[in-house]
């Protein structure tokens, strides 16, 4: 493992490498989302290994939260299952450590700021760094409130991935893009997470515009549920994030092995659809 020989790479560097590999291979990035601890830690580890093998560029690990206002029914239920099964921050960070040992795939924690704040921002980021996280996506932290977390992430070399949405005015989108590290998360729709049958109108143009304004890769997420949609987005974006569709595909599987395999095949399909040349 590269982090064992010589200089330790920062989270941001690991993400940069992962995107560079994609680019060299003529692919767009694929970042699945799964919930930590649904149904348990052991299964989560198995799923992560499987999607890493399937070619995922990086992965968002959803940290279960009791009041996720940005999430639709699929991810809410998944969070509830995980919490009911006893998932907590300590177990979540153990999952991260275990994956850091086993795979190159960078992991980002998708965590509510409520959780980060409660632990203490510095403490939470340090814990993230020492367990081997590459960065954070904090869906309920707007630009104005983010200075402290930003500062801690910079010190630790972890990415703080920011989100732009269809309701973000252009000036603000520029500022958000400028301050995003790792990549920029382009939210495809105004709304909560969840699968949608069609890509929203104007998305492709928005991505093209953002592409010009941003120095970091642009990954598009919220509502992308099929390989076809991923392929369409991949024509203009640097990658796709697929959440609810992955979680739902896991819901349908029954045991650890079938869950890991199901996630693996779905991610493989997405990776294939994001092969651009």
């Amino acid at each position: 493992m590269s982090h064992k020989d010589g200089k330790k790479q920062t989270g941001i560097e690991r993400l940069e490498n992962a995107f560079a590999v994609c680019k060299a291979e003529g692919r767009r990035a694929v970042s699945p989302f799964i919930t930590a601890g649904d149904p348990d830690s052991e299964t989560t580890v198995a799923i992560l290994k499987s999607i890493s093998t399937a070619g995922a560029t990086c992965c968002e690990l959803g940290v279960p939260y009791s009041d996720p206002i940005a999430d639709g029914a699929v991810i809410q239920s998944s969070y509830t299952r995980a919490l009911n099964a006893g998932m907590n921050l300590e177990k979540m960070f153990s999952i991260v450590s275990e994956i850091r040992e086993a795979c190159e795939m960078p992991l980002l924690a998708m965590a509510s700021y409520s959780l980060i704040f409660r632990s203490g921002i510095e403490a939470f980021v340090k814990r993230g760094e020492s367990s081997g996280l590459a960065g954070f996506v904090v869906p309920d932290l707007p630009l104005e409130e983010s200075d402290e977390l930003d500062e801690q992430c910079r010190r630790s070399g972890l990415a703080l991935v920011r989100l732009v949405t269809p309701t973000t005015p252009p000036e603000r989108a520029r500022e958000i893009a400028k301050r995003s590290t790792g990549f920029l998360y382009c939210v495809s729709v105004a709304g909560v997470t969840g699968e949608r049958t069609a890509l929203p109108d104007g998305l492709i143009d928005r991505i093209k515009w953002l592409r010009k304004e941003s120095n970091v890769p642009i990954l598009v997420g919220f509502g992308i549920s099929s390989a076809d949609q991923a392929r369409e987005v991949a024509t203009v974006a640097d990658g796709v994030i697929v959440g609810s569709a992955v979680v739902r595909c896991l819901e349908e599987a029954r045991d650890v092995e079938t869950m890991a395999n199901a996630a693996g095949s779905f991610v493989q399909e997405l990776v294939k659809s994001c092969q651009v040349c």
Binding site: A70, G72, R118, I176
Partner: protein, 408 residues
């Protein structure tokens, strides 16, 4: 000289929030980016509205002819006698149209929604009073109205569900989580995420992201202003003690805010003490909680060490909430307002006492403040004046109280 004055003005407790929605360290705006633009739009619309004489006079007109303001201050003669101490007065928000203070806020916000060109309104409700007040304002102005309400609250506050429907609102029961107020707010926020360009969210208390805590406080402050005016007229002075129940904290904030710069007036907020002080058995974040983030702002909250919101309990649906408005946290930490809690059973006893001694049926929420008031009055002198914010009437609770007693 002028410099000293400027500083003392700045240091006034009432000079909050700042431009970031901070009340001291509390408040702020912790929301998904999707909502940022709408909150900025709301902030601007509000700033414009309050200096627009037309807006101000329209709202005043509604407060008079539609709500029935000013609400009276009633001397609770027999209760005073029974307590045997301070003179107890009720600020009669229960006499407002729709039976609680909530209407002050919903009329103001409905007018704001129309200024922003938004014709669809969503709201959450716990006790159903805010839902009724929102449905009422929407009916008055011809706005579409959808109210999210925890399924448990739909059951225990069913008279209000009927009223909302009669006013033309759609009530959506929320089955997730604890099926109470907190879950109703989650669902309303999720709706708003997808509809934010055409919909205004009329939040029901001084909670949520900036600028809601400020806007709701300002619309509710008519309660405290009228109380001050009335006390000056009746007694030639301010009251000694003012008490209000605290759920999200809107009736209390509306009552307290005009008083905070008068340090001689003691202000007391009463939270829901539930069954006990054990986690999960009460809903008293200012009494037992820690600073944390819930529903878009930093305030005292009941959560576990990881930051997961704790389960709460109160016999009263309107107080059954793990968070509280950020300005209350500011007042708590600055020492300006004292907060304590009253149990379910003490509130139920006060409900009976006030019904039978005064011929006023208080809401179960209000009964928490009343229980404290009777106790406190007994330790005060007869020259002292104690005002209770009678935030709402108790018709909605009659059936649930009968059911609880039937089981006892």
């Amino acid at each position: 000289m002028s410099r000293v004055q400027a500083e003392s003005v700045d240091q006034k407790l009432s000079a909050v929030p700042d431009n970031f929605g901070r009340f001291g360290r509390f408040g702020g705006r912790y929301v998904p980016e999707t909502l940022s633009a709408a909150l900025n739009q709301l902030e601007k619309a509000y700033d414009d509205a309050i200096i627009d004489p037309e807006f101000v006079s329209e709202l005043e007109g509604l407060f008079g002819a539609f709500v029935g303001r000013p609400t009276p201050l009633l001397f609770a003669e027999r209760l005073t006698e029974k307590a045997g101490g301070a003179q107890i007065y009720f600020k009669r928000e229960d006499l407002s149209h729709t039976g609680a203070h909530k209407i002050n806020n919903t009329l103001g916000q409905a007018l704001l929604a129309m200024r922003m060109g938004k014709k669809r309104i969503i709201a959450e409700t716990g006790a159903g009073q805010h839902g009724v007040a929102t449905a009422t304002a929407c009916a008055r102005f011809g706005l579409e109205c959808i109210v999210y309400m925890g399924a448990e609250d739909v059951r225990r506050q069913s008279p209000n569900v009927r009223t909302m429907k009669l006013m033309g609102a759609e009530v959506r029961p929320v089955e997730s989580g604890s099926r109470t107020l907190r879950d109703a707010i989650n669902e309303a926020m999720r709706d708003w995420m997808a509809t934010v360009e055409t919909t205004h969210y009329i939040i029901g208390s001084v909670v949520g992201p900036h600028p809601f805590p400020r806007i709701v406080r300002d619309f509710q402050s008519v309660i405290g202003r009228e109380t001050i005016e009335c006390c000056n007229k009746l007694f030639g002075r301010l009251p000694d003690t003012v008490v209000a129940c605290v759920g999200g904290g809107s009736n209390a904030a509306g009552m307290f805010y005009p008083f905070v710069d008068f340090p001689d007036v003691r202000l007391v907020g009463i939270e829901a003490g539930g069954r006990s002080s054990n986690e999960g058995e009460h809903a008293a974040p200012l009494t037992y909680g820690t600073p944390g983030i819930l529903h878009g702002s930093l305030s005292y909250v009941l959560q576990d060490l990881d930051g997961q919101t704790a389960d709460v309990h109160s016999v009263s649906a309107g107080l059954d909430y793990p968070g509280v408005g950020p300005e209350h946290s500011y007042w708590r930490d600055s020492g300006r307002v004292d907060y304590t809690s009253v149990t379910d059973s003490a509130a139920l006893d006060a409900f009976d006492m006030v019904a039978q001694q005064e011929g006023v049926l208080p809401a179960l929420e209000t009964s928490h403040a009343l229980a404290w008031a009777v106790e406190a009055a007994s330790e005060m002198s007869p020259e002292e004046i104690l005002v209770v914010c009678m935030s709402g009437r108790g018709d909605k609770d009659a059936a649930e109280i009968a059911r609880l007693r039937g089981q006892e």
